[in-house]
Structure formats: structure tokens, C-alpha cells
Subunit: 361 residues, 3 copies
């Protein structure tokens, strides 16, 4: 059993602890901290279960499952926050997930991989297709904000309608990128599910385990939902106690909690010189957030009557745009070294400082 898995098992202990924190009313800060720590291993188990099921049910259906459940943790946390009316926190966590994947995860991967290997290479074609998709996503979230600024007094209903229309286009494009990578141009992406698989310990054959893994997936999903309720419920009071703004919490803290397992995978494989897989995890995940999770939340908000539009805080917009810009610029040549990783991390640090100092409450 790897070190990573041992840590995850220890972290599972925080599930009962967080339940105790809730029942015994230990206060918001302990509840926030323990539920956050409990989510990390649950997210990892959800990921493992999804991949095991994907192997059994075959590449097409499995790929689709992976593509839908890949960011399930973020989706659950965000949905519960949306239900609680924390629309700004939801937007901030979308921003932060994109930043985290493109800058923190890819940066750490390139830095730690680059300390071992002088130069690492990966398929630039995949990076470029993803880069163009990310550009589209940035444009999509830029437009409602740009409209709001260039047309004073615009009704929020108009922004809402535009956001729904744009969300439908984005989900459609996401579906087409799946078709592209799984059906028509699979040869470009031959590092995907299979590569991810071979990273894990060899798994037993046969569909006898299918029921087991479906059970694990359901249990982990339910547990994530419960812990997310704790997390969201204690979020505002806890971060206030810590002297942090909701913006900082949403952009920096939440995404680290939701993505910890993926981060570990991306960095681990980078240190084994499998940069194709590492870049694919980081960029693919941020693309999934932008083209699927964010629009899905817009549509969900519309359905449950908690309207969420794509009109992001201009500062978040700037942060996403510059992250996509620098990540594209660094990944487009299909080569990486430790300095490129450092530049991504420095960008993350600079953005983190800016969000820390940003007075928006």
C-alpha cells in the first residue's frame, strides 16, 4: 500500500470526528476543519471507484463515466453551497478550481518532475486542443461581465437568460470534446483512462467486483454530500474567525480540499516522467470545470430557484484569464522543465496574495 493510500485511510477517521463536531456543537472552526479533512479521502475513493467501474464497463461508457464523475466532489460541494444561497462562494470555487489545476497542480508537477528529469515532453496536440477549449470557456464567462460593464442598468434577468443560453452551448461543446477524444480522434489521447489505470496497483479481473465498486461509489458520494453540508454550513463563520474573506476561502481553500486527490495523482505521475498523463489530468480537469461543472451549476441554479449567472467578479475573471494565458503559453510547446513549473507556481502565489489582500467581502 502506498504512502498516499495510508494517509487517505487515516484521514477517513475525520468522518466520525466531524459528525461528533456537528452533534456536540464544537463550533464552526472545528466543524469546518474536520469536514474538510474528511472530504479528501472520500474524493479519492470516489475517483478510484469511478475508474474501477470504468474498466469493467468498457472504454466508451467508462470514459463517459470518468468525464462526468471526474469532478464530482467539486460539483457536490458547489451544489450544496448553491442551495444555501452562497452564489458568490460557488463562483469563487469555480475560479479557484481552474486556477488550482492550471497553476498549482501543473506547476507542482512540472517543478517536481523537472527536478528529477532535465527536460520532460508531452503531446502538444492534446495541450493545444485543451487550450482552445479553455479559451472558449474564458470567453464564455467574460461576456456576461463585459456586457454588464458596457451596458449600465442591464436587468439581471437578461444576464440570467444569456448565462443559461451560454451554459447550454458550453455543455454541448463539452459533449463534442468527449466525442472527439473517445470516438473520432482517440489516437491523440491514448494516455487517458488506460494510462491512469496502469498507475494504480493491478486490479482483479472480472465483473464480480462491479457491485462492490458501485457500492463504494454510492457510499462515498453520500458521505461527501454529508460532509459538504457540514463544510458549507460552517464556512462563513469559520473563515470569519480565521480572518479570511469568503472570496479567499472560495478561490484558494475549497478547491484544494476538493482536488487534493487529483493533485496527488498528477504530481506522482510527473515524478515518474509520465508528463502526458500529468498534463492531461491537470488541464483536463480545469476544462471539465469550465465546460461542464460551471454550466451545470448555472442550469441547476435555474432549476432549484437559486439563480446563478456567469457574471463573475471582474477580478476573478482577470485571474482565470491570466491563468489560462500563462498555462497555454507554457504547455503549448510540449516541453517542460523546473523553471516553467516555478513560473506557474509563482503566478499562483501572486494571485493568491492578490486574493488575500482583496477587500471584497
Amino acid at each position: 500500500m502506498t504512502l498516499k493510500n495510508r494517509i487517505f485511510i487515516v484521514l477517513l477517521l475525520f468522518i466520525p470526528v466531524s459528525i461528533a463536531a456537528d452533534l456536540l456543537e464544537w463550533g464552526p472552526l472545528p466543524l469546518f476543519a474536520t469536514s474538510a479533512l474528511a472530504i479528501v479521502p472520500l474524493a479519492a475513493w470516489m475517483g478510484t471507484a469511478t475508474e474501477e467501474i470504468a474498466v469493467v464497463i468498457g472504454p466508451s461508457a467508462g470514459g463517459l463515466l470518468n468525464a462526468t464523475f471526474g469532478n464530482a466532489t467539486e460539483l457536490i460541494i458547489a451544489f450544496i453551497a448553491l442551495q444555501a444561497g452562497l452564489v458568490e462562494v460557488v463562483k469563487a470555487s469555480i475560479t479557484g478550481s481552474i486556477l488550482g489545476n492550471l497553476l498549482l497542480v501543473m506547476g507542482l508537477s512540472m517543478l517536481l518532475g523537472g527536478l528529477r528529469f532535465k527536460e520532460q515532453t508531452f503531446q502538444p496536440v492534446v495541450a493545444r486542443v485543451n487550450a482552445s477549449s479553455m479559451n472558449l470557456a474564458v470567453i464564455a464567462i467574460l461576456l456576461p461581465t463585459a456586457i454588464k460593464f458596457s451596458a449600465e442598468g442591464i436587468e439581471s434577468q437578461v444576464l440570467q437568460n444569456l448565462s443559461i443560453a451560454v451554459a447550454i452551448v458550453l455543455i454541448g461543446v463539452y459533449g463534442l470534446t468527449l466525442l472527439f477524444s473517445m470516438k473520432t480522434h482517440t489516437y491523440l489521447f491514448d494516455v487517458g483512462v488506460a494510462g491512469m489505470e496502469s498507475e494504480e496497483e493491478p486490479h482483479e479481473e472480472g465483473s464480480g467486483n462491479l457491485r462492490l465498486w458501485i457500492g463504494v461509489l454510492l457510499a462515498a458520494t453520500l458521505a461527501v454530500a454529508v460532509e459538504s453540508e457540514f463544510l458549507v454550513g460552517s464556512l462563513e463563520a469559520a473563515t470569519e474567525q480565521l480572518g479570511l474573506t469568503p472570496l479567499f476561502t472560495g478561490v484558494i481553500l475549497l478547491p484544494i480540499i476538493g482536488n487534493a486527490a487529483e493533485h496527488a495523482t498528477a504530481v506522482t505521475v510527473a515524478m515518474k516522467d509520465k508528463m502526458d498523463l500529468s498534463v492531461s489530468v491537470a488541464v483536463g480537469s480545469s476544462m471539465q470545470i469550465a465546460l461542464f461543472v460551471a454550466p451545470a451549476l448555472v442550469l441547476a441554479g435555474w432549476v432549484i430557484g437559486q439563480p446563478m449567472d456567469l457574471d463573475f467578479n471582474p477580478f476573478e475573471l482577470v485571474a482565470v484569464a491570466v491563468s489560462v494565458l500563462i498555462a497555454n503559453s507554457i504547455s503549448s510547446d510540449g516541453q517542460s522543465n523546473w523553471l516553467e513549473g516555478t513560473l506557474l507556481l509563482a503566478t499562483y502565489a501572486v494571485l493568491g496574495l492578490a486574493f488575500y489582500f482583496h477587500p471584497l467581502t
Copy 2:
């Protein structure tokens, strides 16, 4: 005779119909629709005549003719709108021509070409030279707007003077790009006039036809001017009846009318796997709009006393900037596939939605 040409001949019937609509006062909407439909085949005939003349008078003078008359239809429509004082519509149609060429035409070409051929390639060098020229153009139209925003209370005369100075620089650069592509670095552009030519039916040799084609060119130009008068005269009333803003009309409708013939060419050659020519038509046309048509209109407006500056609506600016960004990102590697075409079309759709919802009147 190709299907395309048959459609164009049928559309010529709208010339007498639009004249009837004007004389018999059928109202703005029929006049707008019929004159729009009449312009499509006229633009195609202007294009054919220009190319035929270009073949006879040789590559240098012919290339220059093509470069000047390539967007003659847009120039005529815009000039007549400028004379009528519709400065905002003119700016919107410049924006829309750039968007239409980079996103709609290139997107459709890459999508339809990509459905036939798994991967299509083209000279990335040409795409890159064009990309840098488009960047310059975006910068040029960005600056007056940026000045206006960063210096409150600036006199419009100063913006006008700056716009004229910038327009002169842009036209100079346009002249130099012609020198580059036709004199000093022709080998990079060996897909230009000749490639375009070979697409058409074999044309008769000899300069006997020169007079004929000059006649056709003059007749078509005059007819376009007449129809543009109808179009511009009925524009405001007709679009109001349709519930569209002048902004949407200028950005989306007018450019489709003016560019329909070019669109058809670019898509047709893409489906024959001649992506070099297809990309060259789309990107070259948007470059011509930005470096020649727009500055020419600024200078023309100055001469005829209808001052037009380069201070675009910030939302149009954002739209042009993101279009150039994503088109450059997709075309810079010299490869295309159906997904890249789809991403361009999705960007066009998202921008179109935004212009549709934009409340600017």
C-alpha cells in the same frame, strides 16, 4: 454550372424586386430583405470579375487589384452607411466582418473539411504572419478606447486626430504586407491568386475578355451601390420591426450579407482539402478589413465630414480581441480538425448570443 452559381443567378432576380419594393413603397422590411438578397450574387460577380481581370493583367497588378477590391462590397455598404451618419452601424459591421471571417467562415471550413478528412494541414507561417498583423490591428482599435476610459473628459477631437494618425500607420502596414506577400516573400504565399483561380471553371485565354470583365465589375459595383442605398435606408426601420438592435444587425446580419460569396469559396475549398487556400481567404479577408477597410473608412469619414474614430464600443472590442485570440490559437499550429472548427463556431454562437442580449440600442 455549379450549384453555387445557379443559386447566385436566381438571387439576381432580387435586383428588380428590390427596385420594385423601393418604388412601390412596400415598407422597410421587404426592401431590406430583397436588397440584402440582391447584394449576395452581386458581391460574387464582383469577386469573379476581379479575379478574371487579375489573371489577364498579371500577378503583381492583379494581386494589388484583388487586395483592394477583395472586400469592396463591405467597403461600399459601410461607406453608404457612413454617409447616412450611421457611424455606430459602420463600426459594428467592421467588428462583425472580422468575427464572421475568423469564427464563422474559418469555423465552418474546419468543421465541414474536418468531417471529410481526419486531419487537415496548412502552412502555419502564413497563419502566423496574419496573426501578428491581426494583433497589431486589435491593438490599434484598442488604444483609442483605452485612452477614453483612462482619461476622463478627453475631447473627441483628440480621439479623432489619434484615429487618423493610427489609420495612416495601419494603411502603411497593409501596403507593406502586400509588398511582403507579392514581392519579397511570395514563396510563402504560393496558394493565393493562382490557387483561387484553379477553383473556378477553366476560363478562356486572351485579353479579349478584359473589357467584358471590366464591364461586369463596373456594373456590379454600381448595382451594389444602389442596393446598399436601399439596404442602409431601410435598415433602422426594418430591424426595429424585427425586434433587433442596430448593434446586432451591424455585427451579425450585415457581414453575412457582404461576405456570403467569400464564405462559400472558403468552405468549398476546405471540403476539397485545400486548407491553405481556405485559411488564407478567411484570415486574409479579416486582415484586409482591419488594416485597410477600417482605416480607409476613418479617412473617408474625415474627408466627407462624417467623423468616424476608432473608439469602438468596449463590448465590440472584447469581441474582436477574443476572436483574434482564439483564431490565432487554433490556426497557429497549421493543423485543423472538426473539433477546432466547432470551437470557432461555438465562440461565434456565444458572441452572437451576447450581442443579441446586449441592450445597447
Copy 3:
């Protein structure tokens, strides 16, 4: 002796003339002009002395010396202006140095080199590493301005704190880029000090000259400091007499004075088809300004009690961002021709016009 060196010797005569202008109170304009002309050869001597010392003390220490003193002239002028409280002029000169290196120097090099050689090539890897560093720098100076705009009523102390934190990150990154280019990945940069060296006349061997060159360096540095006092002291009155704004002076005039010697080197080597060195001088110098000189001035201002934040005028920000964008787009393919040089120069011209017309005082 080369023509360049003869011109520099003649220009040294302006040192006594400027002193006379100061003592005899000839007025601000003569003082400004003569001190400006005196700085040009002094900057060149500082550069030569730095390189000679670098050769003697070996590549590592020498590279570090070069990296620190490479933009010493700009640093001295800016520091003296900062002491005098001309914070806006300092920021403008940082903007202008970046613009000047990326657009004017690289543009002239590519244009004049391209007139001699049809196509010139250089290592795209170096250009890309620099491009990503410049992107980081643009992000770093963009954030304080973006915060200011998105959070109304933010206290200037917060911006100051953020600027100091960001400055420390940038200087750290600068140190790491030196480590990268001088220690871990030297083979990518084998055109640096050595290439620069071989451009000069053969220099005498032995460390006997070390003292001489240290003396030259100290004397030139002192003289630059004196002349900078004259320059800064007369700047406001002189430019007002010329009808120029402090913004235009800072962005266009000061950087040309401080960088004249480097400009000459970059252009000279480009005409000898050593584009690797030429691009490296231009892009490296702008990177040094952004990652070292600007943050050093923020920290220096904090120490001497003349607080300077990184909150640039939005128009300067736009200018830097678009310069980096177009320079990256042109240099990323490792090829250049005269048209690409022209495009950079046209961008410089357009920006220069905008700064000329910008009414900011």
C-alpha cells in the same frame, strides 16, 4: 575603432557641457538635452566595463554581474527620480523600457536584419522561457490595478503591502531564472556572455586589467548618477517647454536615453545574422526590467520612504500587455523577417502616438 565607439567618444563631451549648463544656469531645456546626451556613452562604458570584468571573474560570477548591472543606467535614473518624488515618471519609464526593448529594439533588429537576410532564425526555446516570464511580470503588475478597479475605496496601504509581497516573489523568480540559465540549463543559453564578448574587439588577456575596468565601472556609475540628477531635476520644466506630458517623456524619451547602447548592440548583431544574441539582448533586458528593476524600485521606495506601488496607470498596463503579447507572438516560432520587424515598429509607433495624444499630465 568602430563608428559606434567614435560616436560615443564624441558624446562624452556632453559631460562637461551639462555641468556648465547646470552651473551657469542655462535653463532646464539645455540641461535636460545635454545630460541626456551625456548619459548615452556613459551607459555604453558601464556595459563594456561590466562585460570585461565578467570575462575575468569567470562565467558564474560574471553572469551574475551582467544580470545585475545590465540595466544599471535605468535603475539609477529611476532611483533618482523616485527620490525626487516623481513616482509617476518612474512607473512610466519602466513601462517605456519594456516597450522599447520588445518593440523598438527587437523591431529594428528584425527589420534591418531582415533587409539583409531573407529569413533569420533563433532558438525558440529561449524566446519561450522569456515569454512566460514576461507573462508573469505582466500579471504581477496587472493585479494591483485590477484590485483597485474591482474594489472601490481600497486603502493605498493595502496596495502598497500587496506590491511589496509581489515584488519579493518577482525578485525570487528572477533569481531562479538566473539559476536556470547559468547553472541547470546553460546549454539552452549558449549565446549569452560569450556571444556578446566575441562581438567586441578582442580584449587583452589576464587579470591585470581587472582594476582598470572596475575603475571605469565606478567612474561611469558615478557620472551617470550626477547626470541623472541633472536630467531628473530639469525633466518637468524641460518637457513642459517642449509641450510634452511627463507620461510621454517617461514612456518614450527616458528609455531611449537609458537603452541607447543596448539598442546599438542588438541591431548590430542582428545585421550580422546573430539573431539569437539580438533577441536575447532585447527580450532579456525587458525581462530584467520587469522581474528585477521594477520590484527593486518598489522595495527601494519602501526603504527610502517614497512609497511606490505596482498600481500602474491602466493605459500603461494595456501598453505593456499588448507589447508582450505581440512580441511573444512574433518571437515564439524562432524565425523573423523584415515584415515582423515592421509590425513591431508599427506597434511602437501606434503606442507612441497614443501616449502623445494621451491627455494625462
